[in-house]
Structures are given as structure tokens and as C-alpha cells.
């Protein structure tokens, strides 16, 4: 087994696979409405996803798999998929908007799936304004249930000026109250520059708001998030692609719902894998291809700055 390394010597140990481009929410910063849903035939089958995970695990020693989307819980037979990969000795993680989480809590607990739930606000009207949906209460409920079940749970909040910047302390209190870590994600320039400037809040400003109430002690750099401990014992993290790009330690490789490898969210090129899966699986060609293609991973946001080329709907965050 050979570990995968890119041209800059960064090792890959983490793949993020989008299970679907469909989502039950329509968060304005995801621009779902702009993209036509992929035809079913173009989406990776469960078998194909299972196969890809096994290749990355057996051939390349990948340690973590994150299931994303769209909304991954919308994928039919996701339980079956997780059953398949749970025997492969990889850490399984999932990012979800939480609306359907109640159906999966027991299963995720059993299969040791770590869960990140996206929660941008505690206010129903704002939730509707952001996502076009009225299920906030259910999401909060599910988050609480998930937390009590003992699942490894984290909350992800995209910081949006004029929308949830006045809720930072409330969100922290909420996550503290259920014993989970909350991470504030800087709004990434996935949208046009004007929209981005309207909503972007830098990490420094978020920190300043927090420091009005709490004191923070740096705990660790998880690779993506800088995590702090608050004086009340709570944990707060910051994922700051813009202020503090973490490209140099990036170990991620993404696979879109339609089977393309994306090496960096800000790259303009993706590499289709379908030819190695259909009509027949060509495993050794696939392995050669992956080994070769990862060398093309760009340095990252720090180098490519500007509007990322990929739609979040097919890529997951």
C-alpha cells in the first residue's frame, strides 16, 4: 500500500464523497437553484461508492471518509452504504442539515458515525430566510437527541454578517448546554464578490464578540479548525478559509456525486472516474489514474483565490 501524496508533499488521508446533489433545504449561499439536478444515471451507485472507498482504503491507506451531498440523508439506502463501509476500518463521518437525523441516531451510534450538523441560526424566521424551510425546531430537537445519544457531534455555523452575527453567543450557549463543540466557518467566496462582501465576517471579528463574554484558551489545531476552550468549559472552533487558509495541511480529496475527483474546492478542473467504473470496473487503471492525478492538486486557496469553480451541491463543503 502506498500513501497518496500530491506535488507539494501533502499526504491524503481523508476523502469526502457526495452521495447526492439533492437537498431538502435551499440555503441562499449554496445556490442550489442555479444547478440542474444530475440525472440518476450519472450519480455513483452504492456499489460504486463502496468500491471507491475500498480502493482508497486498501490501496492508499485513507483513514477517514466523510459523507456529504447535497443532503446525504436523502440518499436512498444510505444505511446499506454505511454497513458496507463500516467493515473497512475507516472513520465514517457525515455532515447533515439535521432535518432527518432522528431516523438515524441509533444507527449512527451503533456504527460509530461522527456527525456534523449545520446550524446557522436559532431563530425560526432567520432559518426560513436562509434556507427557505421551516423545520428549525426539528433540527434543534434532533441535535439535542443526537448529543444525548453519545454520538460524536459537532455543530457547524457559517458566519453571516447581518444574519447570525448577533447570535454568536446564543449559539455558543446552545452548543455548550448540550456538550458539543461549535465551529464558526468563514463565509467562503463561492458566490459573486458582491454577495460575499455583504455577508463575510472574518474570524477576528467573531472572536471579538465572543471575548466580550468569555475568555478563550487555545486548545488545538485540528487541521481544519483552530479550537479554543472557553472559561465555561465549552469548545469553540474556527474554520477560516479566508483569514487563515489551511491549504498547507490539507489532506482532503473530494469525489462529487457524479464521480469526479476534485482536488481543491477552488480548482477549475475535475477528473471523471466514470470511465474506470463503467461499463466495467478497471481497478488497476483506476489506481494508476488516482496516483497520477493527485499530483495535480493545486496549492490551494492561497494560490487560486477567487471564485471557486464548483457547485457545493455536487461537492459538499
Amino acid at each position: 500500500m502506498k500513501f497518496l501524496k500530491d506535488g507539494y508533499g501533502r499526504r491524503f488521508d481523508y476523502i469526502r464523497i457526495s452521495l447526492t446533489d439533492r437537498c431538502n433545504l435551499g440555503c441562499f449561499y449554496c445556490k442550489k437553484s442555479l444547478f440542474k439536478p444530475l440525472p440518476r444515471s450519472e450519480i455513483l451507485t452504492l456499489e460504486e461508492i463502496t468500491f471507491l472507498v475500498s480502493v482508497f482504503r486498501e490501496q492508499f491507506g485513507i483513514q477517514k471518509v466523510r459523507l456529504t451531498g447535497g443532503e446525504p440523508l436523502l440518499r436512498k439506502e444510505i444505511n446499506k452504504l454505511i454497513e458496507n463501509i463500516s467493515g473497512m476500518n475507516v472513520k465514517i463521518k457525515i455532515t447533515t442539515n439535521g432535518v432527518f437525523l432522528d431516523n438515524f441516531i441509533e444507527f449512527f451510534k451503533e456504527k460509530k458515525v461522527s456527525v456534523n450538523v449545520s446550524l446557522d441560526t436559532l431563530n425560526e424566521e432567520k432559518f426560513f430566510k436562509i434556507s427557505g424551510d421551516r423545520n428549525l425546531k426539528k433540527v434543534i430537537d434532533n441535535i439535542q437527541r443526537c448529543a444525548s445519544s453519545g454520538i460524536n457531534l459537532k455543530i457547524n455555523t457559517v458566519a453571516l454578517r447581518g444574519i447570525n452575527d448577533d447570535e454568536i453567543l446564543n449559539l455558543i450557549n446552545f452548543s455548550n448546554s448540550i456538550g458539543t463543540e461549535i465551529r464558526f466557518i468563514e463565509f467562503m467566496p463561492f458566490v459573486d464578490p458582491e454577495t460575499w462582501r455583504t455577508y463575510f465576517i472574518p474570524e477576528e471579528e467573531i472572536k471579538r464578540k465572543i471575548l466580550e463574554k468569555f475568555s478563550m484558551r487555545f486548545l488545538e489545531d485540528s487541521g481544519t479548525a483552530y479550537v479554543y476552550k472557553l472559561d465555561n468549559g465549552g469548545r469553540v472552533g474556527f474554520i477560516s478559509t479566508v483569514s487563515r487558509p489551511f491549504c498547507d495541511s490539507c489532506s482532503r480529496l473530494r469525489i462529487t456525486a457524479d464521480g469526479k475527483i476534485v482536488l481543491c474546492m477552488f480548482d477549475k478542473v475535475s477528473y471523471p472516474l466514470m470511465d474506470f467504473l463503467r461499463p466495467n470496473i478497471r481497478e488497476s487503471d483506476l489506481i494508476d489514474f488516482i496516483t497520477k492525478v493527485v499530483k495535480n492538486k493545486p496549492r490551494g486557496f492561497i494560490e487560486l483565490k477567487g471564485e471557486p469553480a464548483f457547485e457545493m451541491t455536487r461537492l459538499g463543503g
Binding site: 469526479k260 477549475k268 478542473v269 475535475s270 471523471p272 470511465d275 489514474f289 492525478v293 495535480n296 469553480a309
Partner: protein, 76 residues
């Protein structure tokens, strides 16, 4: 948009197709490909868009266009 690769170019880049986004003209595409795959700079190839060879560098390309990089033909 899909960019198909043939012959020697396929061997160089490692696959017979890649997907690119956010490029408006042929000249942008060329610049992007040369920057991403520097070995391409030493290769001769022509570019086809939707099965027709194109010569104008500032031809606009659209999301659904099928683009191909064609090395010098050697059939027959």
C-alpha cells in the same frame, strides 16, 4: 465543460477526459491547461469544439460544449 484528450496527450495527462469550469474562451482554456499541465506546452495539438476544429483563440466556449485536444493525426 468536458475536455477530451487523445493520443499522446491522454498519456501525458493521465486520463481521457477532464472537466473544467469557469473558463470563457479558448485562449483561457489553453492558458489554464498549460499552467496546470506544463508538459502540454511542448506538444502540438489542435482544439475542436463540438467536433469542429477551431482556430480563433478568442472563441467563446459554453458550459455544454465538448472540447477535444487533438494531437497531429496519424490514421490511414
Amino acid at each position: 465543460m468536458r475536455v477530451l484528450l487523445f493520443g499522446k496527450l491522454k498519456d501525458i495527462i493521465g486520463t481521457n477526459s477532464i472537466e473544467v469550469r469557469g473558463l470563457k474562451r479558448i485562449s483561457d482554456l489553453k492558458e489554464f491547461l498549460f499552467q496546470k499541465f506544463p508538459e502540454l506546452k511542448n506538444q502540438t495539438f489542435s482544439i475542436s469544439v463540438n467536433f469542429e476544429i477551431v482556430l480563433e483563440e478568442d472563441l467563446e466556449i459554453k458550459e455544454n460544449d465538448e472540447i477535444a485536444l487533438l494531437p497531429p493525426i496519424s490514421g490511414g
